[in-house]
């Protein structure tokens, strides 16, 4: 049933793309949190 398989692949791709963006944003956020925390302790 190609239609269902296509739908599964489409959803998995969309979720993987969003997860990638969120993980990237999280890494950047953690970087800036670390900088801010370090400056507070100076």
């Amino acid at each position: 049933m190609p239609k269902i398989e296509d739908e599964i692949v489409r959803r998995q791709r969309e979720r993987a793309r969003i997860m990638g963006w969120l993980l990237g944003a999280f890494v950047i956020l953690i970087f800036f949190i670390t900088i801010a925390k370090t400056r507070m302790n100076w």
């Binding site: 049933m1 959803r11 949190i33 900088i35 801010a36 925390k37 507070m40």
Partner: protein
């Protein structure tokens, strides 16, 4: 591909829009806004990125509450028109995924809050999530008409958490902000539950209009509005906010009381004739937004 997957959309990986809908983003605005106001009126400002992260954690915590609430109430949601099209009752997503998502999001928000802000703010966030899920959703909501009175505490936490994220301690003003939302919740939700009463009755949820009737609910709305107005004005005489806030809070609360009085004198039982209730519900949302916005403006602009 087994044939069952054709008739069971929950067997497919959930669409990201349905995962987002689990977090009840429309309810989140008020939570985020009050949390932000709690942070902004605090006497000391954390670095912008830490303040942003604290508000993000409040939003994620609220999202976790929404997801766990929908996971637990999927059967009830299916019986109500207003909620029947949510991802779980409509069968677009399976319950276990929703539960895993909610628990994961809750843990993540608390951990990030602890690391970015402080562990007292993280503890308060954890307490608010647990209170909403265990005390309100699981225990009170299906059992007592007072569900919204006690459960309202869960929604009152954000300004307190915002303040504590900025300062690291609790003091009088954030406790008053907690009290304002706590006392605002019953009139707000009871106004809504009056004109969606049949939905709650069909789902077997003992909301006050279902258990005690519409006239008792209308009287209770007005009675709860009185201490709410007192709490809203209190920061002014207590010296915790300026005259601009005091005058604005008095005017906003007076309008709230007039609308609550109109609800009390309404005799209609047909939702189509419940214009005063719908007006009070809409105004109550504006009221809280305006009250907190004025508090921040008073603190920042007037000093």
């Amino acid at each position: 591909m087994p044939a069952i997957e054709l008739t069971n959309p929950a067997a497919l990986p959930a669409d990201w829009r349905d995962i987002l809908a689990l977090t009840k983003p429309r309810v989140m605005y008020l939570v985020v806004f009050t949390g932000l106001c709690g942070l902004l009126v605090a006497p000391m400002m954390p670095p912008a990125v830490l303040g942003f992260t604290a508000i993000l954690c409040i939003a994620l915590g609220a999202g976790a509450c929404g997801a766990l609430n929908q996971w637990y109430e999927a059967d009830i949601d299916a019986k109500m028109r207003r909620t029947a099209n949510r991802p779980l009752p409509s069968g677009r997503m399976d319950r276990q995924s929703a539960m895993h998502f909610g628990v994961g999001l809750g843990f993540f928000s608390v951990l990030l809050m602890g690391l970015a802000a402080n562990w007292l703010a993280a503890l308060l966030l954890a307490v608010s999530i647990l209170f909403y899920v265990l005390v309100y959703t699981v225990w009170l909501k299906p059992r007592t008409a007072q569900n919204i009175v006690i459960g309202g505490a869960a929604g009152a936490f954000p300004p307190l958490i915002g303040w504590v994220a900025a300062t690291g301690h609790v003091s009088a003003l954030p406790l008053l902000l907690f009290a304002i939302i706590f006392l605002w919740t019953p009139p707000h939700f009871w106004a809504l539950s009056l004109f969606v009463r049949s939905d709650y009755a069909a789902a077997g949820i003992p909301m006050l209009p279902v258990v005690a009737g519409v006239s008792t609910t209308r009287r209770q709305i007005f009675l709860y509005s009185l201490p709410m107005a007192a709490a809203a004005i209190a920061p002014w005489p207590a010296g915790l906010a300026g005259r601009a806030y005091g005058v604005s809070a008095t005017v906003l609360s007076a309008v709230f009381l007039v609308l609550a009085a109109r609800v009390m004198t309404n005799r209609a039982t047909d939702p189509a004739q419940m214009a005063p209730e719908k007006k009070l519900f809409a105004y109550s949302v504006f009221y809280l937004f305006a009250l907190f916005a004025v508090l921040v403006a008073d603190s920042w602009l007037v000093g």
